[in-house]
């Protein structure tokens, strides 16, 4: 095996893992901090992608469009939390059904409003050469995005007032309430954060993964598996599970076939859950 091929495989498996992480982290936050399984997560990604797409096409510079998409999707998430989710806390199956219904509504609305195809924004046509191979600069850039994103989230949830309150509200709702924390508002904020992260994912991935009504479906299966494999320590667990699963699958796909890569992803998930039934982070002593 040539060295340049090895280097490309390594870099691109890192970027594959980053894409998975970017698409997963919103789901992980909502699940980890609120115990809500949001089956509409994929459609929130799609929502963000369309916001960014239309913003870009009406002249907003792409970086600003990404910010806009995150904010708009977060606001939408806040509305959804107020209108639907808050009535269903503690009823896991009911939230599952409600968010699944929401995902169908969002998907079909997208088809009705945008049609089934909409022109995309396209990727920057720049690439980096490594020996005989080239890698898209944008996909490498996504590695950096994932690192910064995780860093920011860690800071937000451990070092800011909101983060401490949000974790308190989920760890011990009663004590938190007696100390004057309004868990209702915190939950709205957390769900909005998770939704905003989904919107961010849809927007930042938009150049490489064009917006289509069904795009969420492609991301959401592996995102769910990564969250389940991650276990109770939300952020670091997701980084570990998503990183391992994403890069193993991608490397397998590079050396064998893409089908094999998918198979390995599922086998690895099953193996992790067989060894750690509560997820990879079940015994970690990390806060987040």
């Amino acid at each position: 095996m040539e060295l340049d091929y090895l280097a490309t495989v390594l870099l691109s498996s890192l970027s594959s893992a980053s894409v998975l992480l970017i698409a997963t982290v919103g789901l992980a936050i909502v699940f980890g901090l609120m115990g809500v399984i949001n089956l509409a997560h994929g459609e929130f990604i799609m929502f963000g992608a369309y916001v960014a797409l239309f913003a870009t096409r009406s002249g907003v510079p792409f970086p600003l469009a990404v910010v806009l998409a995150s904010v708009v999707t977060a606001l939408f998430g806040a509305i959804v939390e107020r209108a639907i989710i808050r009535h269903l806390y503690g009823r896991i199956l009911d939230t599952l059904l409600a968010t699944w219904g929401l995902s169908l509504v969002l998907y079909q609305s997208a088809v009705l409003i945008f049609g089934t195809v909409t022109p995309g924004v396209g990727m920057p046509q720049s690439n980096i050469e490594i020996g005989n191979y080239t890698l898209s600069t944008y996909l490498l850039f996504l590695i950096l995005v994932a690192v910064v994103l995780i860093g920011l989230l860690y800071w937000l949830l451990t070092r800011t007032g909101y983060g401490i309150v949000a974790r308190a509200a989920i760890q011990d709702p009663e004590t938190a309430a007696t100390m004057g924390i309004e868990s209702g508002r915190i939950n709205t904020a957390t769900f909005a954060l998770g939704s905003g992260l989904a919107g961010f994912a849809g927007a930042i991935l938009l150049p490489a993964f064009p917006a289509t009504p069904s795009m969420g479906f492609a991301f959401v299966i592996k995102a769910f598996l990564a969250v389940v494999a991650a276990g109770p320590v939300t952020l670091s667990g997701t980084v570990a599970a998503g990183g391992v699963l994403g890069s193993i699958a991608s490397m397998t796909a590079s050396f064998y076939t893409t089908v094999m890569g998918d198979v390995v992803f599922f086998i690895a998930t099953i193996t992790i859950l067989r060894i750690f039934p509560l997820g990879i982070s079940a015994r970690w002593r990390l806060k987040l």
Binding site: S12, I113, T116, V117, P210, S214, A218, F219, S250, S254
Partner: protein
């Protein structure tokens, strides 16, 4: 303007839904009943909505011209919701309860294979209108889309001459992809080319980097890419961004069939070569009136896809056969269809091959431009479905019910 556009789209979609719920309304007793099952919702509706629109347009045009055998045609339609099980269910309902005279249905090969045994047993003529991997052979089934051998024969020949003899294949991981890949190998050998490798992608995969690296490692002269559904257009975007389009050609038999050229950016879409039986941009005498009719009914915000032309041709070929037979009776209509019915479609003359029940038709090779559209580069006239004609002769062997693979 934007809002008005959106408004018409919503209204159009609402009309489809309404037509669905009211579809089983009243009809006169001597009306001829056409059954339709397409994917109007769910992931496959990038094809199904236009298939349904084409069916209604064709039926309306026939009705406006006096109907078939002097009777009006009524459409009874169901939405398969991109769910395979619905095809079996609705085929049975349409035949048993609604007593349809003919069925137009399906996009995926699996949907066709689900329907085929039912129409065979119940003796209802069935039209399948989508490009596909080829090889279906059944007395009751008629196919108006192009088969893989029909498209591949001209495309591989053209690409080998244009780019060179070293080929890599990217295909979806189900029978359309694997059988199409087999055809690539078959024609590669015939034209003195070589397949260096192939990667099959499950439809849920979003990670295309490994495929792109393997393509670079193999260093082919051109890639045969068969992305299915809107999601796999991401592959084309990443292929271009990695700079591979400057180094090799990229050709496809199904790119454009779901309007993928609209989704990809100009940088990624420019130069992708596709071959199909219909593109909106072809220059044929009947294409202009067809497009005008379509624009009046549905607008042209979304380009017309080949499956729409396939359904349009199917309805007209069937109507022509009924006129010849003088009845909608199954055996008579099939005999008429096997008499070599021809029709002047938007894509030129098409005619039903008596033995194989496939359509002989033009195949166009086109190249993507920067306007989310195609330029026609070559037209192959009246291409026969050679593989199907070779293995499938339903006149000599009317009892054949097989899906031949090369």
């Amino acid at each position: 303007m934007r809002d008005r556009l959106k408004g018409t789209k919503v209204a159009r979609a609402a009309a489809v839904v309404l037509a669905l719920t009211l579809g089983t309304g009243t009809w006169a007793d001597d009306d001829i009943k056409v059954g339709a099952i397409f994917d109007l919702t769910g992931g496959l509706n990038i094809y199904g909505i236009q298939q349904s629109q084409a069916l209604h347009l064709a039926v309306d045009s026939i009705n406006a011209a006096g109907g078939v055998l002097g009777n009006q045609i009524t459409v009874i339609e169901n939405d398969a919701q991109s769910d395979l099980a619905k095809y079996t269910q609705y085929t049975n309902t349409l035949i048993l309860r609604d007593q349809i005279d003919v069925l137009f249905a399906g996009l995926t090969s699996s949907s066709r294979e689900a329907i085929r045994p039912i129409v065979r047993q119940k003796k209802v003529p069935y039209f399948y209108s989508a490009l596909y991997e080829g090889g279906a052979c059944d007395k009751q089934t008629f196919i108006t889309g192009a088969s893989a051998s029909q498209q591949m024969s001209v495309l591989i020949d053209w690409a080998v001459r244009e780019y060179g003899p070293r080929i890599y294949i990217m295909a979806p991981d189900y029978n359309f992809g694997t059988i199409s890949a087999h055809w690539v190998e078959y024609y590669a050998e015939q034209f003195g080319a070589e397949v260096l490798g192939a990667d099959f992608l499950p439809l849920t995969v979003t990670d295309y980097s490994p495929t792109i690296q393997k393509i670079q490692a193999a260093d082919p002269d051109f890639v045969v890419a068969l992305p299915v559904g809107a999601n796999q257009t991401g592959f084309l975007e990443q292929f271009a961004a990695a700079g591979l389009k400057d180094k090799m050609g990229i050709v496809s038999t199904n790119y454009g069939s779901g309007n993928q050229q609209v989704v990809v950016s100009p940088d990624a879409g420019e130069g992708i070569v596709a071959s199909q039986e219909y593109f909106m941009w072809i220059d044929e005498p009947n294409n202009e009136p067809f497009m005008a009719l379509w624009e009046e009914a549905y607008g042209l915000d979304e380009p017309i896809i080949s499956e729409a032309a396939d359904v349009w041709n199917a309805v007209h070929v069937w109507a022509a056969a009924v006129e010849i037979a003088g009845t909608t009776d199954n055996d008579a209509v099939i005999a008429a269809l096997e008499s070599g019915v021809s029709f002047e479609g938007p894509n030129g003359t098409v005619s039903m091959q008596p033995g194989s029940h496939h359509l002989r038709q033009n195949i166009y090779i086109v190249r993507g431009n920067r306007e989310h559209a195609f330029d026609v580069i070559e037209k192959f006239e009246y291409v026969a479905p050679s593989f199907e004609d070779e293995v499938c002769d339903l006149i000599a062997n009317p009892d054949t019910a097989e899906h031949f693979v090369p």
